[in-house]
């Protein structure tokens, strides 16, 4: 188990390096950092002066190595716009995004897993049809529209929940539901299909032949095996929620990382953009690593090769 975890960790670190290289190259190719700092009214002499003083005239590879050296020490540079360390700018926004993503994932799991089990126990029954209908709506409905619908019903008409901001937990309820409902159908379908497969397997028949209660057969013997593919996908979904909640954070005016990413890109704030991409890839790597470890813990065939 330990060597398995170590192997996965080393691969994760290598992926981080590759991602950081690609990010650095692409952002610097897309935006001229000197021009971005100088602003729109600057003369070309000003731009050249900035280029020299910031060291942007050095080769890309040399700049990457310098940036990487600092990044490894926890220094991701300073924001061009806010004139403060990038790390501080991101750390300020991260809690909101983490809370939103966590709540959204919890909502998605709590909704989809029980529904999927109920549907898989009786395929083609009314509960199965409701589950599939629910999944269809979730997949077909754009997140922003569902979010606006939520605001109209629960904030404007019923006045139960706040429509914008991220001050209290109440502010997180609507965005988390909107974001979670987008992720839930995939998890639900995957869990349902896995459960139907597993319930038809020989070892479930064995469990029944042993005279175990139906609850034990389903919740112990079937669930453990059916949940495996769901774990990996849920991890990726969670990464998406943390990195890609730009639309939801913008609609609900939440001061999260997604909103920050949108701001930095539109303002050509290179260091912040780079750092966000790097952070999102780090989150993905950590999540897939945890998903792999969780799967190894759940499935002895991975753990003991």
């Amino acid at each position: 188990m330990l060597s398995y975890a170590l192997r996965r960790l080393i691969i994760g670190v290598l992926v981080m390096f590759v991602v950081s290289g690609i990010t650095f190259t692409l952002t610097n190719a897309a935006i001229d950092p000197a021009r971005a700092i100088a602003g729109e009214g600057a003369t070309s002499d000003d731009v050249e002066a900035i280029r020299k003083s910031y060291g942007f005239d050095r080769p890309l590879a040399a700049r990457y190595v310098a940036w990487l050296g600092q990044a490894l020490q926890g220094d991701l540079g300073s924001s061009y716009r806010q004139r403060r360390p990038v790390v501080d700018v991101i750390m300020e926004r991260l809690p909101v995004t983490l809370k939103l993503g966590g709540l959204a994932l919890a909502f998605a799991l709590v909704l989809s897993i029980p529904l999927a089990i109920a549907a898989a126990l009786r395929p083609n029954s009314w509960i199965d049809r409701i589950a599939l209908l629910f999944a269809l709506f979730g997949q077909a409905m754009p997140t922003f529209w569902f979010a606006l619908l939520g605001i109209v019903v629960f904030s404007v008409n019923l006045r139960w929940l706040p429509a914008s901001g991220s001050g209290t937990t109440a502010h997180f309820i609507l965005p988390a539901i909107a974001l979670g409902y987008y992720a839930a159908p995939t998890l639900m379908r995957l869990m349902r299909a896995g459960m139907i497969d597993v319930l038809a397997s020989d070892y479930i028949r064995t469990a029944r032949a042993k005279g175990l209660s139906e609850a034990r057969v389903v919740l112990k013997h079937a669930l453990r095996n059916a949940v495996l593919p769901v774990v990996s996908v849920a991890a990726v979904q969670f990464g998406f929620m943390l990195g890609g909640s730009v639309v939801i954070e913008t609609i609900f005016a939440m001061q999260g990382v997604g909103y920050l990413a949108w701001e930095s890109i539109s303002l050509s704030d290179l260091p912040v953009t780079q750092a966000i991409v790097l952070m999102i890839s780090l989150i993905y790597i950590v999540l897939t690593l945890s998903a792999d470890l969780l799967n190894a813990w759940l499935d002895p065939r991975i753990r003991i090769g």
Binding site: D202, A209, K210, L212
Partner: protein, 338 residues
């Protein structure tokens, strides 16, 4: 003494897009304490469904009906779910065909053995673990205590089937239903597993209902035999009587398909049964085997009588066995004459 397992007029019907598949068509059988009844037949004759119907493990869409289905007096067809669940895995246990897929890959052998006992007996985990170790040793697994922590994928097929047998024995059952328990195993392992089952039966007095397509297996372990064809029991009786004096043309044909060392002449062609099993969708008029039977005549389209040929030896055929013997003599005389 009354039978441990009584089955009378058991039917299993499965709805399919092509119509209702009437897979088991009025099977009656009984198993007494301590005896082995073997049910033989080709693939698709309904023998596995019969065993699953007895255990109440049919697929959800299948429908079961029976005039009587009882285990030691407990009604398995109309009895309470609790009472039946209390019997399953406890007093009647089942061993399946494929040991590679019949154990849950996510849990240890020990966990899967122990939970059977914890589900039925008021014993502590330690006592259940002791019993598991004892039984693993009894079924011939070395280093039993260390095996408890292993997962199914770490064991060979033969070992897994031994684990399945130990699991069936956890609660000291009166009846074990074994559905093709050796089919998925190597020939050498098959022999070991059969010997193990026979020894356990002699030692513990367990009744066994063994489902197989292998007449070699039947010859080794059976006390009585039931021959199934197209969802019906066509012949049943003590194994000696049926092997010595097979009375249904299907049984005779089946036995003709097996070479017997020392008895079957070298280079003589092995028997084969022409034709295929009839579709089990809808009703079958008369004898289901008539289409493949060399002795078929007009009466085979009518109601088929069940002939009693001796103590417990019955055959579902319009013709008396003497008729075939006379025919066989004429045929062999003819062959010699030519």
């Amino acid at each position: 003494m009354t039978a441990l397992l009584e089955v009378d007029d058991l039917h299993v019907r499965i709805p399919t897009p092509a119509g209702e598949l009437h897979a088991v068509r009025g099977i009656s059988l009984s198993v007494r304490r301590g005896e082995t009844l073997c049910i033989v037949g080709e693939s698709g004759c309904g023998k596995s469904l019969t065993s699953l119907a007895i255990m109440g493990l049919l697929p959800r869409e299948a429908r079961r009906s029976a005039a009587r289905l009882a285990f030691d007096g407990v009604d398995l067809a109309g009895g309470s779910r609790r009472a039946i669940a209390g019997l399953r895995g406890n007093r009647m246990a089942m061993i399946f065909q494929d040991p590679m897929t019949s154990l849950n890959p996510a849990f240890t052998i020990g966990d899967q053995l122990v939970e059977t006992m914890l589900a039925h007996r008021k014993v502590g985990r330690a006592a259940a673990v002791d019993r598991a170790v004892h039984l693993l040793e009894r079924v011939g697994i070395a280093a039993a205590a260390a095996r408890l922590g292993q997962y199914p994928h770490q064991l060979s097929g033969g070992l897994r089937q031994r684990v399945m047998i130990a699991m069936a024995l956890m609660c000291g059952p009166d009846l074990i239903i074994a559905d093709e328990p050796t089919t998925a195993l190597d020939v050498t392992i098959q022999a070991q597993i059969l010997r193990l089952l026979r020894d356990l039966q002699a030692e513990l007095g367990i009744a066994i209902l063994l489902i197989t397509h292998d007449l070699g297996v039947v010859a080794r372990v059976a006390d009585r035999i039931g021959v199934m064809y197209a969802g019906e029991m066509v012949e049943e009786g003590a194994v000696g009587a049926v092997f010595e004096r097979p009375s249904h043309p299907y049984t005779r044909a089946l036995l003709g398909c097996i070479p017997i060392p020392g008895r079957t002449p070298r280079r003589s062609p092995l028997g084969a049964i022409p034709g295929i099993v009839p579709s089990l969708v809808g009703t079958i008029q008369g004898c289901a085997f008539a289409g493949r039977c060399t002795h078929a005549h007009e009466a085979c389209a009518g109601t088929i009588p069940v002939r009693t040929l001796g103590a417990g030896h019955r055959s579902r055929c319009t013709l008396a066995p003497d008729t075939f013997e006379a025919a066989a003599r004429t045929a062999s005389l003819g062959a010699i004459g030519r």
